[in-house]
Symmetry: C2
Subunit: 143 residues, 2 copies
DNA sequence: TATTAGTCTTTATAAAATATCATAAATGAA
DNA sequence: TTCATTTATGATATTTTATAAAGACTAATA
């Protein structure tokens, strides 16, 4: 199972960083890993409640917060959902997404030029970037 | 008054396009134009209700939808707020924003390189972009 | 073991956005 | 003008998304 391998990687990364990948967080990580593509917090909660019926919105949001801080998960601002990172070994990379409005698929891309162009513009305005949201909407190859 | 001039431009643009800038829409446009920086839908509703106490959330959201479609207003996905466009004569330009997390100021920038880099990456994946969300968070020059 | 920082549970609420359906206004064709 | 069609609004309710607050618990460490 792919998701088990990912979980191992996550455990290793957390150990290295002294971060605590607790049972709830692990469970949410697995659900994210098993899920194809992006998922909303409340849909994720539904899945979690099948395993732990006492789970509440805060349970999921806290776990997602943690996973996002570790760089395992990205929040997609424009569709209020969450996505397992394609390459979370490199934990704080700039996030650039292609979101198909037809089929809902999300592809994570990596363009240095894009990052550089954005930083160049920011510099020109004396602006220091901490975090960037780059989400392109449109139609994917399959659609 | 700057906002009155902007309103005239908006009226002209709508006339040209056969779009109906109705009383509510005009009022919301003016409130946006008079407002410094970005504003949330419900804060805008508060302002609107001082003029028209019967205004409801849907009133504001519908007006904002219209204004956004005309390119007069941009939605900022990462902070759930709205901003009058800096240069709405060019109505469907790519939107690129620098958002200060300290003082809340938002600067609209225009980088062709950024747009090109994003399109290049999308092309490489066979993806066709309809709409792009580019929002950089960090610290502005003043902060 | 005692301290401490972090995490979890629960309950409640806030914030953001949309659905629905009835009514009204504008537009365009006859 | 009149009628039909489209478009916009008003009003009510609800859905969806996200956070606050307070106390109990847990793991790490010293
Ligand atoms: Zn990633
Ligand atoms: Zn698609
Ligand atoms: Zn603009
Ligand atoms: Zn600032």
């Amino acid at each position: 199972m792919e998701s088990k391998k990912l979980l191992q990687l996550a455990h290793a990364a957390c150990k290295e960083r002294g971060a605590r990948l607790t049972a709830v967080r692990e469970q949410v990580f697995l659900l994210m890993a098993e899920n194809e593509g992006a998922i909303g917090a409340y849909d994720l909660l539904d899945k979690l409640q099948k395993i732990d019926p006492s789970a509440k919105p805060a349970t999921v949001y806290r776990a997602l917060d943690f996973l996002a801080k570790q760089g395992f998960v990205h929040k997609i601002e424009s569709i209020n959902s969450f996505l397992l990172c394609d390459h979370f070994s490199d934990c704080h990379h700039p996030v650039q997404l292609l979101i198909c409005d037809n089929c809902g698929s999300v592809e994570e891309i990596q363009s240095n030029n894009l990052d550089l162009a954005l930083r160049a513009m920011a510099d020109a305005s004396g602006f220091t970037i901490n975090h960037q949201v780059v989400e392109a909407h449109g139609k994917c190859q399959n659609c």
